[in-house]
Symmetry: C2
Subunit: 280 residues, 2 copies
């Protein structure tokens, strides 16, 4: 899964680049595939900021040197974090949003007045925002989450915070599933369970794939959708392909859907809000 945004921009470099331009890095390894530089830059400019999102290709072993070098760059206001740095970058933050603190992972850092980094994480709230866009009211709903990794943890946390009545988590890795379930249950905001392997997807109002399944053409569907009623909301974090077999099968059943692309557009919105707060 990669980032994406629906926003486009027609700011010329002639207007939009000078010595006074503020910088937000996006750091990853690899970096060439990310699409947020354009979309986030556009959104910052629409908000009146002379700012630019600049790609930084940094390997895991070099992340400490990168942060040591960025810290004293006085015109750098933020760092967007992408794969594989979302967990390791948390070590360079002095404070965290609630979601980032819970997950121990960050996808956006903004500069605090004392020059330190405040870390935020919007993979979960971005996904929930995309579900709301699709007409899904999460309060009291029964949710099934496939995948207990980084994206799954973020989405599970956001679903529980959004008021679902119950969350069931399905993942082959029993220990990380149990860990996530225990930690989410401890928030005491809804019932959280480990789902059985042969879970009946049709007994949920919301079904989300937060696993990589669907990226390869021969992947099985994350769960059996053959009995889903049209009232089920179905989401997927995978962006390549833009329409996964899972989303296509759900649409064939009449379900409303949220694609990975739609999710990441909302994640970018949250990043921008968070970065703009930095200078408020």
């Amino acid at each position: 899964m990669t980032e994406s945004t629906a926003t486009t921009v027609a700011v010329s470099l002639d207007e939009g680049l000078s010595g006074a331009t503020r910088v937000v890095f996006i750091v990853g390894d690899p970096i060439a595939q990310v699409r947020s530089p354009k979309g986030v830059t556009a959104a910052l400019r629409e908000a009146g900021r002379d700012a630019l999102v600049v790609p930084a290709h940094v390997a895991p072993d070099d992340l400490a040197a990168f942060f040591a070098g960025v810290a004293p760059m006085r015109n750098v206001d933020g760092v967007i974090i992408t794969v594989p740095h979302k967990f390791s970058a948390a070590a360079y933050c002095k404070s965290f949003s609630e979601e980032a603190a819970f997950l121990g992972a960050v996808n956006t850092l903004r500069r605090t007045p004392d020059g330190a980094w405040h870390g935020g994480m919007f993979d979960g709230t971005g996904f929930v925002a995309a579900l709301v866009d699709a007409g899904c009211h999460l309060q009291g709903k029964r949710a099934l989450l496939v995948g207990a990794g980084g994206a799954g943890s973020a989405i599970g946390h956001a679903l529980v915070n959004a008021g679902v009545a119950s969350l069931d988590v399905l993942d082959n890795d029993t220990s990380r599933t149990d860990s996530l379930v225990t930690r989410l249950a401890a928030l005491q905001r809804g019932a959280v369970h480990t789902a059985p392997k042969e879970v009946a997807a049709e007994s949920f109002d919301v079904v989300v794939n937060a696993s990589p399944m669907g990226m390869r053409a021969d992947d099985p569907l994350p769960v059996d959708v053959s009995r889903l009623p049209a009232s089920t909301f179905v989401g997927d974090v995978v962006t390549k392909p833009p329409l996964t077999p899972f989303i296509e099968a759900a649409r064939a059943r009449g379900c409303k859907t949220v694609t990975g692309t739609q999710m990441f557009a909302r994640v970018c919105d949250r990043m921008v809000e968070f970065l703009l707060d930095a200078q408020a």
Copy 2:
């Protein structure tokens, strides 16, 4: 004196910014006043490179951390160096152009295949290129240079390399003047002398101000121009104001002139050539 370039660009950020965009930093303290991000970016794009010049505001004490952080950024191909880092940045280079080696100063760094930095310095050759643009053939000419600091040293070196018959250097600081004269004379490319305080500017074919004189409204002229013949070429490194009293007085005498702005446009050209070589 600050940087400038006459080049303009109409590349939109929509085309010109992605995760695959290559980065060239421009580092200085302050940085907001520099104009080369736009011009150098435009020139790199005209040469077919998906590249962006990104400002980095770094204080002198933080330069080591900056270079340690930039070194592992794999999509960074170069660093443009501006005030006050032109001398200190040389410490981070593994190799140098001839001009940079002579001056112990750099204004552009490009990445070598082994990931190290190769340093170049174009303040002198840029100035000479602007003189040539103005119709000045330097071979065999008598040149007077006012100012033996960073810019003066670079221009003195370039004038001697361009084949002037003689170079006289005028500066209130006797020791740095003598040092520059000795080092330029050692190149054995032309006669190099310390000019007397009351030098007769009219006995030279080329008169260059490489001192800050002219930046403030109440500065005296660098040398008396009241007897200059119209055949004299007169240059000035000062860019603010764009037309110094020195240049205006020379033009009133009918002399051909090179302004700081014209000089820095040619400096930018040399930077771009040097950066493009990096990937050849």
